[in-house]
């Protein structure tokens, strides 16, 4: 008999995610790992190292680039990929606009968020990817709470929540036909706090915008937005300087900042543990649009 060994919740979640990544690599022909430069996809890169080192990643890394990025994030992306010596593929929303695949929204509330779906699906088709590993989590939104870890997409990239495959034990059915693909979410069961704790435990580097800094912002719908060339301000939206950090990293046009003095990982973890508002409710204009905003976008092929 051996004495029982206690694994922490982070050990369990890490082991589960590593197992999932290895299943993707073993069972699918052409996987890709989606990387936004945000904290969740930074965790995915660490998990891929845990899964495949000292070997190379058995998939490239893909960034769906809206062209409206925080410059700090692009700088971070390029440096991180170079350190890992892995392959980066960039799918450009600007290119989709230039070739007429999508039409840019106009006005002060214009965002390229919706346009990413077309760019993503086009890239999946162009490269023939049959699996896309992403950093979505079930705690982010109610429709995601019901999504499988291996989430099947039809020929049109659509998610059908009523026809999901049962998912039992850690036995994943990864079978797809030509033209179909599967989205895989290794950190499905993690919460925002789990992600930050893991980042703290593994001492992962993050883009500086996740930590408190002084920035020119303006207030809209109760949220703080960064002043940038990508967002047209409306009347009365006066810019001012504030100490802020970002809880999520997306397009500059739809990612809000929170007032914060948290300048270190430990301070951010404490702040998240004490927070009273969800991550997407606080900082993502794209999810506030309607009650079923995420479900609708997922159905047509969003991340």
């Amino acid at each position: 008999m051996h004495a029982p060994v206690h694994l922490s919740h982070l050990d369990e979640f890490e082991a589960e995610a590593v197992h999932i990544m290895r299943e993707v690599a073993a069972e699918l022909e052409r996987p890709v790992l989606l990387f936004s430069g945000g904290k969740d996809s930074i965790v995915l890169l660490r998990l891929a190292e845990q899964a495949f080192r000292p070997g190379k990643f058995p998939f490239p890394i893909m960034h769906v680039d809206t062209g409206h990025n925080f410059p700090e994030v692009i700088e971070f992306r390029d440096r991180r990929v170079a350190e890992l010596r892995e392959t980066l593929v960039v799918a450009s929303v600007q290119a989709s606009i230039d070739t007429g695949r999508v039409v840019e929204e106009t006005g002060p509330r214009a965002s390229r968020n919706q346009l990413q779906t077309t760019t993503l699906l086009d890239a999946i088709e162009e490269y023939g990817f049959d699996a896309a590993i992403g950093g979505a989590r079930r705690d982010e939104e109610r429709a995601r709470a019901k999504e499988r870890i291996f989430s099947f997409r039809d020929d049109f990239g659509q998610w059908n929540p009523r026809a999901q495959r049962p998912e039992l034990w850690d036995l994943y059915n990864a079978r797809v036909r030509r033209g179909e693909h599967v989205r895989v979410f290794p950190i499905s069961n993690w919460t925002e706090l789990d992600v930050w704790q893991y980042i703290a435990r593994e001492q992962l580097e993050l883009p500086p915008i996740y930590f408190s800094h002084e920035r020119e912002v303006f207030r809209r719908d109760g949220m703080l937005y960064a002043v940038s060339e990508f967002v047209e301000r409306m009347e009365g939206e006066e810019p001012f300087s504030a100490s802020v950090r970002f809880r999520t990293v997306g397009d500059m046009s739809c990612t809000g900042a929170v007032a914060s003095e948290a300048g270190t990982l430990e301070q951010v973890v404490s702040e998240i543990a004490a927070t009273r508002v969800t991550e997407r409710g606080e900082t993502r204009a794209d999810d506030r649009a309607s009650e079923a905003a995420m479900e609708d976008r997922k159905r047509v092929g969003y991340f």
């Binding site: 082991a15 590593v18 197992h19 845990q50 998912e167 789990d194 973890v269 404490s270 009650e291």
Partner: protein
């Protein structure tokens, strides 16, 4: 509030809840989340608004668990929902499965990974058919711990006598099903008594509240630490100068404690070797236990690939070509005898024929009926499968990883069944 450093060491408990809306399941989950302060301001505002618009007349905590639009519109739960909560003592991962008869497949799905099941019943109705059905599913899925939540105690005047009657009846059911650890807890999810706080309704009850029990039930000993099992998932072979001769077998420990120097046999080839090291990306480990994803290196250069299983030579599993298993059928299309299917077991996938349908359980009476002609959606049956290639298996009762499989229909690629191995032969 919980400090971050304490949380780093928090143990994970996976649980499944079974019961219908009528038993107050959504209210119980809402109460657990609310009283442990997991519901954030924007979520609460959101359900307050929705409750008002629907004309519920109260803040409907059940709305927290309704994910899809069809569910919100129809006021029902369709699919398993996964949600998280945390207390200073544990991190909880909850699979919320709808309780109706037709959703057996959902409860089986949610139960497959659970350490603990919460089975809800209404104190006025006592032990009903559904209670027995949920207990049966908990038993065949090998869930180590069961809590029966006797809810709506406020509607029976918090009667101790009523509670004792229910407890006695449950004792008989549990014994018959072979459930090992069953805890019965009285509560009122609506008022909050017995869920997180004891409340003032039941001074006669001296046991733990639901949350106390969830936080303290011992789960680390549930894993099989005595029989080493390791299915190879992926072979790490860097083709680089630095790691010229490196060959590592990546996978997740399914049983036993693994250390350098352990003897192993590779199944199905039966070649023998010894563990050179157990590693993660950062370097070698002293030992690895079930649940951990690691890389095992062997002293000898054998031809080992995905689907092979490394095991203890003294306590090896059966290398089987024929299985007898409890199967839950999950497809609309019935299973007929002689149907060809694909079995995915650990990291190995083989073709199989469902040779014989031995018996099917009547989910209402829990009686076995011999020789069914076919299996319908949500049926649970004993099935004999013949395999085209061998699998290294254990009985599910001994190991929930090496005793489990899923069935896939090759013509549609759908997952059509879940299997728990009863016995195996070569």
């Amino acid at each position: 509030m919980v400090t971050s450093s304490a949380l780093l060491q928090t143990e994970l408990l996976r649980l499944v809840t079974a019961g219908s809306v009528d038993d107050g399941k959504s209210t119980l989950i809402g109460r657990l989340l609310y009283d442990t302060k997991q519901i954030l301001v924007d979520q609460l505002e959101h359900i307050q608004e929705t409750s008002k618009r629907r004309g519920d007349g109260y803040v409907n905590l059940a709305l927290l668990t309704d994910g899809l639009r069809a569910e919100r519109e129809q006021g029902i739960t369709i699919d398993v929902a996964y949600r998280s909560f945390v207390t200073p003592r544990r991190r909880f991962q909850l699979a919320d499965a709808p309780g109706h008869v037709q959703y057996t497949r959902n409860m089986v799905t949610g139960a497959s990974t659970a350490d603990l099941a919460i089975i809800l019943l209404d104190a006025r109705k006592g032990v009903v058919e559904q209670t027995r059905r949920h207990s049966y599913i908990a038993a065949i899925l090998g869930i180590p711990h069961v809590v029966v939540a006797v809810n709506k105690m406020d509607l029976v005047e918090f009667s101790e006598q009523r509670f004792v009657e229910i407890e006695t009846e449950l004792g008989e059911t549990s014994e018959r099903l072979g459930l090992r650890d069953v805890r019965v807890i009285p509560m009122s999810a609506l008022r909050g008594d017995g869920v997180v706080e004891p409340g003032d309704g039941m001074p006669w009850y001296e046991g733990p509240t639901l949350l106390d029990h969830l936080e303290t039930v011992e789960i680390a000993a549930d894993r099989d630490l005595d029989h080493r099992r390791f299915a190879v998932q992926w072979v790490i072979r860097p083709i680089s100068e630095e790691h010229h001769d490196y060959r590592g077998y990546a996978g997740r420990v399914a049983g036993g404690v693994w250390r350098a120097g352990d003897d192993v046999v590779v199944l199905p080839s039966r070649r023998r070797s010894r563990v050179a090291s157990v590693e993660i990306a950062d370097g070698p480990l002293e030992l690895a236990v079930p649940g951990m994803s690691v890389t095992v290196r062997l002293e000898d250069d054998l031809d080992v690939s995905r689907g092979d299983m490394l095991v203890d030579p003294e306590e090896a599993p059966t290398v089987a070509r024929e299985l007898e298993a409890t199967v839950c059928w999950m497809a609309e299309r019935p299973l007929e005898p002689r149907t060809r299917l694909v079995v995915k077991h650990t990291t190995r996938t083989v073709r199989a024929i469902a040779d014989e349908l031995l018996s099917v359980i009547d989910i209402h009476t829990l009686e076995d009926r011999a020789g069914p002609e076919r299996l319908e959606l949500n049926d649970i049956a004993r099935v004999r499968l013949r395999l085209a290639d061998p699998l290294a298996v254990d009985p599910y009762a001994d190991n929930r990883t090496t005793g489990a499989f899923i069935l896939i229909d090759e013509s549609t690629n759908d997952t059509v069944g879940a299997g728990m191995i009863l016995s195996a032969s070569s």
